[in-house]
Symmetry: D2
Subunit: 197 residues, 4 copies
């Protein structure tokens, strides 16, 4: 069997979800997957970005990471998605990308793949649960198979315990968080291997 293809798709403003994405990519590779890391295109006006140094710096930091395309979505056997919360739902930049996928969705090219999600928010309970559910709702429309971590590993009782997917407070993605993301990514690879065999 060939290695399962995992697309790590993220959007970030200040870097937390970029760090989660890299941790997920490392773990997925270690678990035997072929991994591609892509980011949702920034859609905010340039003047908004220019007004915030940390945002601008983060965009420069990830200039080498390709912007996600519909072809990336077709290529993958499984998706690991990470996106910050905005008022209880994913940042609109991720939604703008997702809304371009109509044609491949209609051709059934998103179906029967695996899907897992992580997020970050400003507050401890700032919509982390609802944001991940929002992504899973969409993933169900695509006909993907949802691989949430639940409490299927002891790390989930130590990482804040979000059973839908790992969630960080913005700027606080720590070692325990990395361990949790690694678990979630390896779990995705494991089930992707079985489901796409």
């Amino acid at each position: 069997m060939s290695a399962p293809k995992i697309l790590v798709l993220f959007y970030t403003t200040y870097g937390t979800n970029h760090a989660i994405a890299e941790a997920a990519a490392d773990a997925a590779r270690e678990a035997g997957a072929e991994v591609k890391v892509v980011r949702a295109r920034e859609t905010a006006p340039q003047e908004a970005i220019d007004g915030q140094e940390p945002w601008k710096a983060q965009i420069e930091k990830m200039a080498h990471i390709p912007e996600a395309t519909a072809d990336d979505m077709v290529w993958a056997d499984g998706y690991f998605v990470s996106v910050p919360t905005r008022y209880g739902v994913p940042a609109s930049q991720m939604r703008a990308f997702i809304d371009t996928l109509g044609p491949i969705w209609q051709e059934g090219k998103l179906a029967n793949k695996t899907f897992t999600a992580t997020t970050s928010a400003q507050n401890v309970h700032g919509g982390q649960e609802t944001t991940i559910h929002s992504l899973y709702t969409t993933a169900m429309h695509w006909g993907t198979i949802i691989v949430a971590p639940g409490y299927a590993d002891p790390v989930k009782f130590e990482d804040g315990g979000n059973p839908y997917g790992y969630s960080a407070q913005a700027g606080s993605f720590d070692e325990k968080g990395k361990e949790s993301v690694a678990y979630q990514a390896k779990r995705l690879v494991e089930f992707t291997k079985k489901l796409t065999a």
Copy 2:
């Protein structure tokens, strides 16, 4: 008491949610509200729009309707929001607008207003319920008061019965739908009058 100010905020691609918005505005005015109708700015690339005649025609049809601003949000006492479903959540154009509201949200200028929502989808059960809940989740972050219709009026047993807010199949906004939207808009006005008195 002065008339409550209702902002009817919509996004539409082919016109269903525009029609809902106009029906809501008419009913709200009739119920004694001062009403402003605004639309979320189109964010799709021009070439995507140009490739679809009905989309292009709809944009021309509503060229006179102003694009929503943060000031509109501050102005209003209550919000009537209508937006089509995309994979179980609101279209990203609406989310792009909402994501610009950070500054006024932080100043508390969205709090303690009223909020109600409607939607449309391609299928009978195409995420109408989840789309409206997604908007209410965001509205709760703002500290608004949610005024869903429930089954508080007989029309709700005749209009498809979505208790979270009226929902149409795309292109099928009919007389019963208008009656239901009118009920929902008047209900919003009534509670806005009381809550903002």
Copy 3:
């Protein structure tokens, strides 16, 4: 490879979800699964039941179907759950059963299995979407793999199009519904086979 074990778990008051469960069981067997059909224990007071002839008749009609136990949950490789909506969530009888599963959940005996759900409601949009999501939320806590139908088959554009799982109006489970439930059950079996291979 041995046949995957599918537990069809339902609760019903007047019979719609019983009919869905039987249709799912037939389809799962046809797809090569070993199937067990069980029902959540009735918890309503006897006088409430006695006051409604159709409810009482339904209970007599399914007296031969065993009540669900924790052992059934451990036994299964995958779950097909059907339960009516009550105010946008599953009927409390199903929740009462689920709340007894703490011990096996803590031992990890619910994890890594497959899960899919269907429902019914009085109105067209009476909480069908939210009810199924409520079940999936719980299933994620267990660490199960969610196999929603999405629009991965043409029948989903003909059966009302609920991408989270088939949903019927109470008393209106028709031929198209049976086809949709059969698809959803076979899909569950197919992915359960892969996971247990």
Copy 4:
């Protein structure tokens, strides 16, 4: 103007949600409401309770608190609900009570009242957000007006920041929590006063 009538409705196993309910009741009284505290009837089998001393002790501790009835629901102008999480949704005991409200719901006697909710869970992110949303979903079916706290007060940036309603980790309802619950209860009273004026 007469005092608004607030029903504080809770279920608890080990006492966290009882403590939240008492704190809410105190604050609501202080804000000028007439308050009644009631609990959802225990539905677990006696042998389950007898096997757990802390559960048994809690039931004895609140023997003087009346069990909630449909009449209580009719009596109230607003509801403050507190219930622990079970797998991302409210404990089934609360659902069992809610499922008895069909007759008064059909008569419209739950409509147009106010509603707010709080919860507790074992983990930091153990379904606190989804549990409260589940209650609001139901409250929307009733046609009630949802008064979530959002971030409409500074305490919400200090109490864990759940904008949908205060949430505690089980057994950790502390002073900051009391402050947050008091805010949420007073907010409910304030808006209920306006609606019943």
